[in-house]
């Protein structure tokens, strides 16, 4: 018996957060959504969680996403994997606390706008990597920290370069994301299907 999450009428990012919670506790979850953004975001989360996804469009304009965790589905259905098309990992690299070269004041405006706007995209990135002065954006007193917290709640992985926060002496100001090392950063970057460097 699948658990039902009625996410119709809920503002973003609630549908994704509730689906994620339900998937932590149940192997099969039906999610009701009433808009395409929520549909896409929940679908993406389910893909990332390795679920089999079956979408039914209803006459009242809502959709039901039937999500089944893959290991369970094999036992229950015993049939070939209906794997969602692997869309590939998108990794965004924030290597500076500004976007573009030439004017730092403007670059700082742009990078904040970029991070804010990532959350409004239909297709969210899978991972953000912060290194060099980019790590300053992930500190607790950063002006984009609320955006980053929201990303984390949506399951987006935030990797923060440990060497860099040590260098800038802001280690105690990092409470969002995962303090990471060069091995993880290098393997994420080389393993990405799409590497975005603003």
């Amino acid at each position: 018996m699948a658990e039902t999450v009625n996410a119709a009428g809920l503002p973003c990012p609630e549908p994704v957060i509730r689906t994620r919670k339900a998937l932590q506790q149940h192997d099969a979850v039906d999610v009701i959504v009433d808009n395409e953004t929520a549909l896409e975001n929940v679908k993406r989360l389910a893909e990332k969680e390795g679920c089999i996804i079956d979408i039914t469009s209803q006459s009242d304009g809502t959709w039901i996403l039937s999500l089944t965790k893959k290991g369970v589905a094999k036992e229950v259905k015993g049939k070939a994997e209906n794997t969602p098309s692997a869309q590939g990992q998108t990794v965004v690299v924030i290597s500076e606390d500004r976007m573009g070269r030439g004017n730092d004041e403007l670059g700082y405006v742009l990078i904040r706008g970029f991070i804010h706007t990532l959350l409004e995209l239909d297709r969210l990135p899978d991972t953000l990597i912060f290194y060099n002065t980019g790590v300053k954006l992930a500190a607790d007193d950063s002006e984009v920290i609320e955006d980053l917290k929201k990303m984390e709640s949506l399951g987006i992985e935030l990797l923060i370069c440990g060497t860099c926060i040590n260098y800038f002496k802001i280690t105690e100001k990092i409470s969002t994301g995962i303090v990471s090392n060069m091995f993880d950063i290098a393997s994420k970057m080389t393993g990405a299907d799409k590497l975005v460097m603003p």
């Binding site: 809920l10 503002p11 403007l106 405006v109 904040r112 706008g113 804010h116 706007t117 002006e143 609320e146």
Partner: protein, 76 residues
């Protein structure tokens, strides 16, 4: 689920937005500099987003110091 109501302050130039940002920071106002949402304008501009309840106080701070073109609700 409570949703915060936001307003945005629109400017004719990026430098005015930055001047307003500095001023609001000095006055310890809560705000966020964001790109102008697409439903408001397709220009590649920046605006300042504030909690709608702060509209009056922010307007008072900016008036006479930084020219702005409009304060309006973010959603509608």
């Amino acid at each position: 689920m409570t949703e915060v109501n936001y307003s945005v302050i629109l400017f004719l130039s990026v430098s005015h937005a930055l001047k307003a940002e500095r001023l609001l920071k000095q006055e310890s106002q809560a705000f966020k500099l964001i790109p102008v949402p697409r439903h408001i304008s397709s220009d590649c501009g920046v605006c300042i987003r504030i909690d709608s309840s702060l509209e009056a106080s922010v307007e008072k701070i900016l008036t006479g110091s930084v020219p702005f073109s409009e304060i309006r609700p973010l959603n509608d």
